[in-house]
């Protein structure tokens, strides 16, 4: 086990290196420049001065080496926009994204997995059809459309829930206030992941139920419930666990539209602004952080595999 973890750590470093280099190259290939230089009213000497301040007058290779040298010390430099330290900005935003993503994930699990189980066990019943239908709807609706509908209903019409930010400006920490701000964005974000979870759980469990060992167990007289929970569900969780490994990084880096509409100060919103503004240090910093989250969650997924299915070994 220890050896395995060490191997994975070494691989992680290689991945990080590849990811950061690829992103660096792509970001410099993209047309345009830092938005502070790209304004209609800028003058040539202004752009020159800014280029020098941002280090853009140096050759690509030098800039790459400089970035790498400070990145290994976990220093991602200063944003090309408002010139704040990238570390500071990410440190501010990451917990917000984790909060939103975490809530959406828990919501998805709490609703999605039971829904998938019910769907699978009552296959082709009307319950199954209803659950499947809603899953599909959830999969098919563009996030921003759901968001606007919910805002129109719950904020404008009913005045029940706030539609932006994490808390009411000017108030000190109040749990109910925080939760009320979390509800709408979490629901919108969950609609992108809940249906997947429910469907995958359903299809995986259906497969398991069709397996010989399940039929054997039932024939031997074991109660259906027990067969389900001890064996079938456990095995069916494997492909579902796979899905988690994909959902988590998506939640971290990709809740862009949700964060933008609800003005949730997270990393997704930051990533869009950084892309539009060609803010290279910020883009690079975000990429590395997301990469680390992906690597860690993939590792956890693989370890979970081994725990769930004793037949799987890493040989």
């Amino acid at each position: 086990m220890g050896r395995y973890l060490l191997e994975r750590a070494a691989q992680a470093l290689v991945v990080l290196l590849v990811v950061s280099t690829l992103t660096f190259v792509m970001v410099t290939l993209a047309p345009g420049g830092p938005e502070i230089m790209m304004t209609m009213e800028s003058t040539p000497d202004q752009r020159e001065a800014l280029a020098r301040q941002l280090g853009l007058d140096q050759p690509l290779f030098v800039r790459y080496v400089k970035w790498m040298a400070s990145a290994v010390r976990a220093d991602f430099g200063r944003s090309f926009g408002d010139r704040r330290k990238v570390n500071e900005v990410i440190r501010e935003r990451l917990p917000n994204t984790l909060l939103l993503g975490g809530t959406a994930l828990i919501l998805s699990l709490l609703v999605g997995i039971p829904a998938g189980i019910i769907s699978a066990t009552r296959r082709y019943s009307s319950t199954d059809h209803v659950v499947t239908f809603f899953s599909f709807i959830g999969l098919s609706i563009p996030a921003f459309w759901v968001a606007i509908l919910l805002i129109l209903l719950f904020t404008v019409r009913l005045s029940w829930l706030p539609a932006s930010g994490m808390a009411t400006p000017g108030t000190s920490f109040l749990l109910t206030d925080r939760i009320s701000h979390l509800v709408l964005p979490a629901i919108v974000l969950a609609t992108t992941t809940l249906p997947n979870l429910s469907r995958f759980m359903r299809s995986a469990l259906i497969e398991e139920i069709g397996q010989d060992y399940v039929r054997t167990a039932r024939a031997k007289g074991l109660p259906g419930r027990q067969v389900l929970s001890r064996h079938a569900i456990r095995n069916a969780l494997i492909p579902v666990v796979t899905l988690l490994g994909i959902i988590v990084p998506r939640l971290v880096g990709g809740a862009v539209i949700t964060e933008t509409i609800f003005s949730w100060p997270g990393m997704g919103q930051l990533a869009v602004a950084a892309t539009i503004g060609r803010d290279f240090p910020l883009i690079m910093g975000l990429t590395v952080v997301v990469a680390i989250v992906v690597i860690v969650s993939n590792l956890l997924v693989d370890l979970a595999y081994g725990w769930l299915d004793p037949r799987i070994t890493y040989t």
Binding site: V15, V19, L29, S203, I246, V272, T287
Partner: protein, 303 residues
């Protein structure tokens, strides 16, 4: 009814049934039969056929010009001249919807084919061979997952120019990773089963085992993944348009029609309803079909 040679003797039907071989039962005839009993899937297939037909033939069959703008007749509701009304500069919504279906469907299908092909290849190789191969391939998958999609798209558009082709390839190349992970997980499971051991014992090559033995077991998951990917591709295209990248007007896609309609939800919500409904219904239909196919193709189910 009988597949045999010419009959010149008159045999009663009961006897005939006893001596005549039943029709051949391949995986596909079984699947077709099962599918026929799945009402939602059949509805969905019918819907998709209609939508695709419109997409292919529409621009010739129907008289409206999707690019003719007239600011004085903007945002009008349904009328004789414009069955679905006009958009923000007076272009016919129905015409744009049909032309847009071409683009959106094209992007969705081709991107899905790309992503599934790459994903299955990577996942199968990784899951089956394990060790070094798996390590390299899965780390590569991780690396791709960690790449911010926005930048991949921006950079690709920078180097190759914008438009439908680039967008499709880029969406396809950013959607294969989940497929690879799932397929790899499945191959990992199936590699250690008895029947694979048996196949090895009788001397089947690795390729044969991967394709002929394991792949059918995995195919339900792949089909589910494939239909989800069409959904993902169409939704990604709309998300890209929302952010102002991808395929630009005046060439319509459901995604960029939805984006343009955002501002008008207060004054003309139908502008967003139509493309949104097309995305919803099409994706829904693909999912029902995929689900139906999954059940139909499951080799372990009895009729």
């Amino acid at each position: 009814m009988t597949g045999g040679g010419a009959q010149s003797i008159d045999i009663p039907s009961a006897t005939r049934a006893a001596i005549v071989p039943p029709p051949p039962r391949t995986l596909w005839t079984i699947a077709a039969r099962r599918l026929r009993r799945n009402a939602p899937a059949l509805l969905a297939i019918g819907f998709l056929v209609i939508v695709h037909l419109f997409a292919v033939l529409g621009p010739w069959l129907l008289p409206w010009d999707p690019f003719a703008a007239d600011p004085l007749t903007r945002l009008t509701g349904s009328s004789a001249a414009h069955p679905l009304g006009t958009d923000e500069i007076g272009r016919d919504v129905a015409a744009r919807l049909i032309l847009g279906s071409r683009v959106s469907l094209g992007v969705g299908l081709v991107a899905m084919i790309i992503s599934v092909s790459v994903g299955v290849a990577v996942g199968a190789l990784a899951g089956y061979f394990g060790r070094r191969t798996e390590a390299v391939l899965m780390r590569f998958t991780e690396a791709m997952l960690a790449l911010p999609t926005l930048f991949v798209i921006l950079a690709a558009l920078a180097v190759f120019g914008g438009g439908p082709t680039t967008s499709t390839i880029v969406i396809g190349l950013t959607a294969w990773m989940p497929v690879a992970r799932v397929v790899r997980g499945e191959y990992l499971r199936w590699r250690v089963t008895e029947f694979v051991d048996a196949a090895r014992v009788i001397g089947s090559s690795d390729l044969r085992i991967m394709l002929r033995h394991i792949l059918p077991q995995v195919s339900p998951s792949i089909i589910v993944a494939a239909t989800l990917n069409v959904a993902f591709a169409i939704l990604t295209e709309s998300a890209i348009s929302y952010l102002g990248l991808g395929i630009r007007p005046p060439l319509p896609t459901w995604g960029n029609m939805l984006q343009n309609a955002q501002i008008y939800i207060w004054s003309a919500p139908s502008l967003a309803v139509y493309p949104g409904a097309m995305i919803l219904l099409t994706v829904l239909a693909y999912n029902f079909v995929g689900d139906g196919l999954r059940d139909a193709l499951d080799p372990r189910l009895k009729i």
